[in-house]
Subunit: 274 residues, 3 copies
């Protein structure tokens, strides 16, 4: 079993190579407190080099994914005194820290599956943007609601653009409108919708069984190449990908995977949920 | 009321914080003459620092959005003599000016809503690509028709790529095929389609009421962050977004928006069309 | 007729300005052997400066597009000895060469139409990503299946990201799941689907007739501008596009195209398949 940190705002449950992470603040509709962010960050750090955990499943307790930022804390923030000595505003420092967390969540080596129900507003919608595969209930309510509060969706804006493209990001951020699961699928925010709770679990099982066929190390390397290709020159990405390919093919996963394919047998890493 | 320039190719109508801009050359199907471009550019400049105008609605008179470039002027262009002294061809200079206009239109601080009917060809399709939210009638005819005239869709090509992605841009630009509203929605060119004129106005009203709930300054800052995220390094965008967040939260919009939310009342800036 | 190389793994058939290229290894489901790649590369080189060939149609013999890489050759690869003198692994060198081929295929000046049937797995899915316009049979099976073999989809990963966006690329590469034509359309991998073989040919004919209306040189220049806009600064792309516009408008295609339009006659380059 993985060496996981103690958490009070998250529930952690490891089953085989899968780590189920549940935001557990149902009384606050799982709003993103500093505690939630710090604990999620600690979990990601703890498993970063552990290929025994291949998949992380992120969801919210009580039928709601995440209702967004903690708006009462916004009130406390602006009631605090701004620095007058030219130093950076603590509000900006704290906000920027959330962006650093988003980078970490978005690029964790495990495959991150989001199970989205109830609501995903503001920062909750930001979390969805960092998943590799997102499944949502059709009735989920989504909104990028920040500008209705007089503030920009600051740290999540670039992740929304990466997720749904600039065309849909403009719509979501500048109208703040609520939308549901089918529209989230159309806009490219999620990959699958399910009509009800049973459908959601069935889709999750299917996705986990697909991921269970993929070699853990190959998936981690592939995710890195995909994300690198967004910001590095193409020839550099291709050269690195070629070196990675050679390393993987000569390594235990490549040898086992190719032999299993030629012998028409499942590779040793295949993990199936009944 | 805003201080707006005199226009002869555009109709301007300010209602509250909304500026309705109508291209008014129905006899030429609202083709993009230099006059249309110069006047639109002057309007954008005039309102650039005016947060009293929050939304610009762009449409065409006579049931047509914009039939594209002025093809007769193309004939005059190639009949002119090309410079022989090594200086830049005036055709290139004039074409490049349109690209500078496209940058300005695309990044104006107001939220730009396009209402698309009849036809959006060539440069008219380019205008659609610069809107934040585009609503079109199902029967609208679209085409990126330039290469059928022997010329590239030069200044609009990069905006088409940003709008619909490289995959769909290749299809549109290299086949020149006509398509209609439902296909424009599928391709990611527009956000909403309506079956008829009443549906178009109803959708526009709904979109304007959504934008009317968003704080004007927050929307302007958010639009800048979204567009910046396409071309600046992620850490730079996040740092700037954090500073913007702090400034907005401490400013009048953030304070009023958060207080209105906690008191379950509409913020002072909310503007609703009945 | 074009001066084409002798090929044994490809069938070449020129009809007017159209070059039909068929991967002809049906016994191996048209897997991407080195021979297939080398011959395709030689064809692209041979026609690079030949505007007499305007369109290349790529398909596979025997009802299958391309089943991907040659997995038996992977076995031979990892059984070879890795260099111990610090020189680059020949596996990496060979893999990187495929990326250079992908760049060449993706940016060939002709308009590249893919006709996809049967299966497009791994590298075969990579070829689809390099087409300008892709038409597929509804029943086609697609999968980015590499990580199930313990290896990353190394050289094609960046092209998948460009094609379907990072959001869908994460799904495809990290789950490896099979999907069919309608899902390929939804994900943005192909532009058109057809229910059966007759529908596939009818759609191909329509697409070829659309391309047949576009000026060959204008299409080649436009493709270059579109691809440049993904990696060069916007102002540089717009300046180059303006110079290209002036050159094309003063050149034979621009003059003929504009005159044909004003005289309501088809331009001389229009090519129609009955």
């Amino acid at each position: 079993m993985a060496n996981l940190p103690e958490c009070s705002a998250l529930l952690l449950d490891q089953q085989g190579s899968r780590l189920y992470v549940t935001i557990n603040r149902p009384e606050a509709r799982n709003a993103l407190s500093n505690e939630v962010v710090d604990e999620l960050s600690a979990v990601i750090d703890a498993i970063a080099d552990d290929r025994g955990i291949r998949t992380v499943i992120l969801r919210g307790a009580g039928g709601t994914f995440c209702a967004g930022g903690d708006i009462k804390s916004f009130q406390e923030s602006f009631q605090s005194t701004a620095p007058t000595d030219g130093s950076r505003d603590p509000i900006a420092i704290n906000n920027n820290r959330f962006g650093e967390f988003m980078i970490k969540l978005n690029s964790m080596p495990q495959t991150l599956v989001g199970v989205i129900e109830g609501a995903a507003f503001g920062g909750g919608l930001g979390l969805v943007c960092a998943t590799d595969i997102a499944i949502c209930a059709a009735g989920t309510k989504f909104a990028l609601s920040e500008t209705g509060l007089g503030i920009p969706p600051a740290q999540i804006a670039p992740f929304v653009v990466q997720r749904v493209g600039i065309t849909n990001a403009r719509l979501l951020a500048l109208s703040g409108a609520r939308f549901n699961g089918p529209r989230a699928l159309e806009l490219g925010l999620v990959h699958f919708i399910a009509d009800d709770a049973d459908g959601l679990e069935a889709t999750l099982k299917r996705v986990l069984n697909d991921i269970g066929k993929c070699a853990p190390g190959a998936n981690a390397e592939t995710k890195r190449i995909l994300l690198d290709s967004q910001r590095k020159p193409l020839d550099e990405v291709l050269a690195d990908a070629a070196d990675t390919f050679a390393r993987q093919l000569r390594g235990p996963e490549g040898q086992a995977g190719v032999m299993a394919f030629l012998q028409k047998q499942p590779a040793a890493w295949v993990e199936t949920i009944e």
